[in-house]
Symmetry: C2
Subunit: 340 residues, 2 copies
């Protein structure tokens, strides 16, 4: 009841994106995005005991769905705001997404990255023409430097997950999955598995499937379960992220908006461990011929283990940017079992 809401909750509710926002985001993004395939594979189905429909966002621009949220945010900026440039803080795919969008719209972008960021990731951002500033090693140091920079220059901060435009943008991946399954098999998904880092994609998927028969299940790495803990507590809980192969899914805390949406629509959050991530990554590569990064395998890992038997199940592969050395290591560990 509106009258019973706190000022904060009411303020937050007015910022929450809606399913209508996803539909307009889809129209806005369509000319800029790559049409990523929805993959079916009998061997994966056999392991899952279910019919999997796998949305391959690792084949999106910059190798990850993150291109969507950044694009949806920037495309709605007033020209005079955009002209002052973009800024963000990230060591991962969001950094590449902002650099890519900036290049696409001919804007200046400044990315604050940790001093220990892998050189491959720094090079990828620089290759797209963004300026990289290396600062500290913690997320807090980067964020504070970015805020400072924004204050001084007027550059616009592109939020990685806790923003209505980001959520609506990421949700378009789920919307496309829903539409393609409907058009190819004339039916709806029973459930869909999505990975959770800050919660942008999960919140977007919740909105995409809201009001449908499709249940949305979030997936976090073991020891990095801020969403699971936040849902249990009823408010955002910070975690000290444990070690995980899924380096894209270990923020300290999920977003406020993301939690608010997941509270309403998410069925549950499951966790996966490194062995499940590595094995799923190798199965996908050798059986379905596509490469995901460990974070990108999280939803698949959970679906292979926990999909409802016989159900029609969606899976979103979030990204595919990883070091070859990690891939070689995982092949060494899991390929024999997968090829047997």
């Amino acid at each position: 009841m509106l009258s019973a809401m706190s000022a904060d909750a009411s303020q937050q509710a007015s910022n929450l994106p809606t399913t209508a926002d996803l539909l307009s985001a889809q129209e806005r993004l369509e000319p800029h995005l790559l049409p990523t395939p929805v993959i079916c594979n009998p061997r994966l189905d056999e392991v899952a005991g279910a019919e999997l429909w796998i949305k391959a966002e690792n084949l999106q621009h910059i190798g990850a769905f993150k291109a969507r949220g950044a694009l949806n945010t920037v495309a709605q900026l007033p020209a005079q705001t955009a002209a002052k440039g973009l800024v963000t803080y990230s060591s991962g795919n969001h950094a590449q997404a902002v650099a890519w969008v900036a290049k696409r719209f001919a804007l200046k972008a400044t990315i604050f990255m940790p001093t220990n960021a892998p050189s491959v990731k720094v090079a990828a951002v620089r290759r797209m023409g963004a300026e990289v500033v290396m600062v500290g090693t913690t997320s807090l140091e980067r964020q504070s430097a970015a805020l400072d920079f924004a204050g001084k220059t007027g550059a616009f901060i592109i939020e990685p997950f806790d923003h209505a435009h980001t959520i609506a943008g990421q949700g378009t991946a789920a919307l496309e999955l829903q539409q393609e399954v409907a058009s190819r098999c004339g039916a709806a998904l029973d459930e869909v598995f999505v990975p959770i880092g800050g919660g942008g994609l999960a919140a977007g998927a919740c909105l995409a499937f809201a009001g449908s028969q499709t249940e949305v299940i979030g997936v976090e790495p073991e020891g990095c379960n801020s969403m699971q803990q936040s849902l249990a507590a009823g408010h955002v809980v910070s975690v000290e992220p444990g070690p995980t192969l899924a380096d894209g899914l270990r923020p300290t805390r999920v977003g406020e908006l993301n939690l608010a949406i997941c509270k309403q629509h998410l069925r549950e959050v499951l966790t996966v461990n490194d062995d499940e991530l590595g094995l799923s990554l190798v199965r996908l590569l050798l059986w379905a011929k596509i490469l995901v990064e460990p974070s990108g395998a999280a939803a698949l890992a959970a679906a292979l283990r926990s999909a409802r038997k016989g159900a029609r199940v969606g899976v979103i592969l979030s990204g595919g940017n990883m070091a070859a050395s990690t891939l070689v290591e995982l092949l060494g560990k899991h390929a024999a079992a997968v090829e047997a």
Copy 2:
């Protein structure tokens, strides 16, 4: 002039498939096939100096375009012929394709494979329910055993490449590429690169692009250039295939029908070496996130080196079935250069 044709040539001409056969094959196959994506990647474009449109048939059923030709052949068999079962001889993707089609149409299939066939490939065929008979180590021994078996049982031989239905089926991959490029960028390709083993896909691509502005370029591994030699000689020339990473592109000789079509429509044949194959495979994996087998990288390797600068260029990736150990080896050799 018809009157000047030999009886053989006239007989052959009447067996040649036409572009109309491709169009009806497309209609026939569509309900059975996976919609494989056409991929664009800025880093590959940068290396090529051209705009590449890459048809990913490694994401087709059984991980290769070979599903198309086998399906197109079987779908046109009279019921009483099909009921006697299918037979073929192959150590590669064609074996899996026939096993897959047999399973799909609930037919019996017998596949003659060499005694030294990799156990992964034998297992893949058996997993789909086909009977595998191991015989000798040469293509001639397998072919003769299969012919013998067909004579005794009435089983129908599914030709790997030298048959009108096979060619029309494989050509649908090129047709889809043409249609998707037209729909996404409103223009035709300037040239398209296709790999050549026996020549089924190349002949099909010739028919798909016949009468258009798109020039078709065939690609063979160095030392396995039966098509290149046959075009120069004007008749099918057998070669003793040299060593190559591209195990799917080393038949002793291309097909008669395939040569007849390529003679009319192919612009030229280029060759690629193992270093180019391995480097292209690793670039595609780390940049575009999809896995091809070395044969599957042949057309890309040639396009990266020899595409016309600034042109709109199609590339067909033929398949993605390979041993993890080979992949690890190629990553060890090429990943550092690709990640630099």
